[in-house]
């Protein structure tokens, strides 16, 4: 029964991934960053303020910063895990053999993506005990945490798909890596810049609340940082709705946009995997 859902590439990738020292050092680095941050934060808010205790508002603050930090870490790590998916096989001269097996292009691409996503999920899960500190001090609801983790997952799969796509269409891993980081800079940075730009234009032309600015809303809603802010504090979402005049919650647009990215990137990757063949079967 299990065999039917078995993806050989996924199984092989997981095996290789967990055998390499790089994966463990990566995980260690990730947890170390989170630990240093939390310890530093606790020290700053207790020792140096001289209060010696921890209030729920401060705990919420820690949660917010931790969430953004984790998002940044995930965005930073995903390309390094996925941008080599296909191109490294090409560089190691194992791709041709893989392509002569009866596995479909879809199976290979999805297996590659899922193995990277699985590792990132492990990373996020490994960070959960650190998150639990926040619960210790209160101020955050579990449902909030769940929705944030779900959106981490959506983001990871989307960035992973971008990585796999570039890995398939470029010959070299380094090029795929640069292109994927470029995409992240666009999604995380350039969209923020456009958001402020369109907002400024909008404010110049109109008083707030009198007209709608779809562009302001759009740029904010595809930015992972902005999404996290609206998930952490719903007031942020209200403020954006007021500013842009679009009432639709940011997460809906984000979800649609990122699912589209996933579908588009995976379709391109599957089509281009057997690029030298006219038919992609």
């Amino acid at each position: 029964m299990m065999e039917r859902f078995n993806n050989p590439v996924l199984v092989k990738e997981l095996k290789l991934r967990f055998r390499s020292f790089k994966s463990f050092s990566g995980l260690m680095f990730y947890l170390a960053v989170l630990c240093i941050f939390i310890a530093g934060f606790l020290l700053l808010t207790t020792e140096f303020t001289g209060r010696g205790f921890f209030r729920p508002e401060t705990s919420f603050m820690m949660f917010a910063v931790l969430t953004i930090l984790q998002m940044a870490l995930v965005l930073f790590i995903t390309p390094s895990l996925t941008a080599g998916a296909i191109s490294s096989e090409r560089e190691k001269q194992t791709l041709n053999i893989l392509l002569t097996t009866t596995q479909s292009s879809t199976q290979i691409v999805v297996g590659k993506l899922l193995s990277s996503v699985a590792f990132l999920v492990l990373m996020l899960a490994a960070g959960l005990p650190l998150y639990s500190l926040v619960f210790l001090f209160g101020g955050v609801s579990p449902s909030q945490l769940i929705s944030i983790f779900l959106f981490y997952l959506v983001t990871v799969v989307a960035i992973g798909s971008i990585g796999v796509m570039f890995s398939t269409i470029t010959k070299r891993t380094i090029v795929a890596m640069i292109a994927t980081y470029g995409s992240i800079i666009f999604l995380g940075g350039i969209t923020a810049f456009f958001f402020f730009l369109t907002m400024a234009f909008h404010q110049m032309g109109n008083a707030i609340g009198t007209s709608t600015s779809f562009m302001t809303y759009f740029w904010a809603s595809i930015n992972p940082g902005a999404l996290m802010l609206t998930l952490i504090s719903p007031e942020m979402g209200d403020a954006l709705a007021e500013l842009s005049g679009v009432e639709l919650p940011v997460w809906i647009t984000y979800l649609i946009a990122y699912v589209l990215i996933i579908v588009l990137c995976l379709t391109i990757a599957i089509k281009k995997l057997r690029a030298n063949m006219k038919s992609n079967r």
Partner: protein
Amino acid sequence: MIEIRDLTKRYGSFTALDHLNLSLEEGVVFGFVGANGAGKSTTFSILATLLSPTSGDALINGKSVVKEPKEVRKQIGYMPDFFGVYDQLKVDEYLDFYGASYGIQLAERQVLIPQLLELVNLTSKRYEYVDLLSRGMKQRLCLARALIHDPKVLILDEPASGLDPRARVEMRDILRNLKSMGKTILISSHILPELAEMCDEIGVIDNGKLIAHGNVAAIQAQLQGEKRIALKVTDRMDEVRAFLEEDPHISSIDVIDNRLEIAFNYRGTDADQVALLKKAMLADLPIYALSEEEKDLEDVFMAITKGADNQ
């Protein structure tokens, strides 16, 4: 059964394959001979469904590489000229991965893997990491990998390249074994004399065109018009040379002074050769040994490709 019809592959203005036609019966071992860049690897890549032809088609057991690549993949085992292995994967895991990639069930794979390792003499390496194997062992492992789904056709691109003589002999023994199992084997090699021993048929490709195709004996016979004969003498080299120069069937005499050896090309029949020897004996020439240098596939190949260039 393999049927290649008008197979053409162009890269821009460069024609890698030019209307290649070839038909092979089941169970045949076919040797593909050609210089680097002649089109061997391109042909094999098309047969292995890695490359689409610009025009034409190839049928493997009736399945088209263009229209039914997935069906073709079930029929073929492909070994590329250059290939890599995954680090951190053990020999049996390596085979297990490819077995699963062909949709073979776990229980079946567990039975198959030891059998295949036995076939390629790697049983003792079953639990070793693949990247630690020698080149010859990797080559054999890759062959076992190509056999895991029991394909009818094996496409082996330069399987002996870069191997030391011992590894080459081992590879040849395995291929002989596979031949006896009734597999159709397509093999390209630069080690041409080895192909002569193993192959039923030989195809010579040059500049993307098949310039000769036939059984080994037939192609060798094309060259048998001229033999290369070497004589060993104890002394009086000049006398022997003068004697040979008189024979109308002899051309290009080479005197190798330091070894007291004379080699020449001979066009005459076997009967002519008997007469020549008799004459030499009667003339009391100090010849103590005579040997016919065997023309191997290398010579065949050189002669045929040279002929094609001159056309």
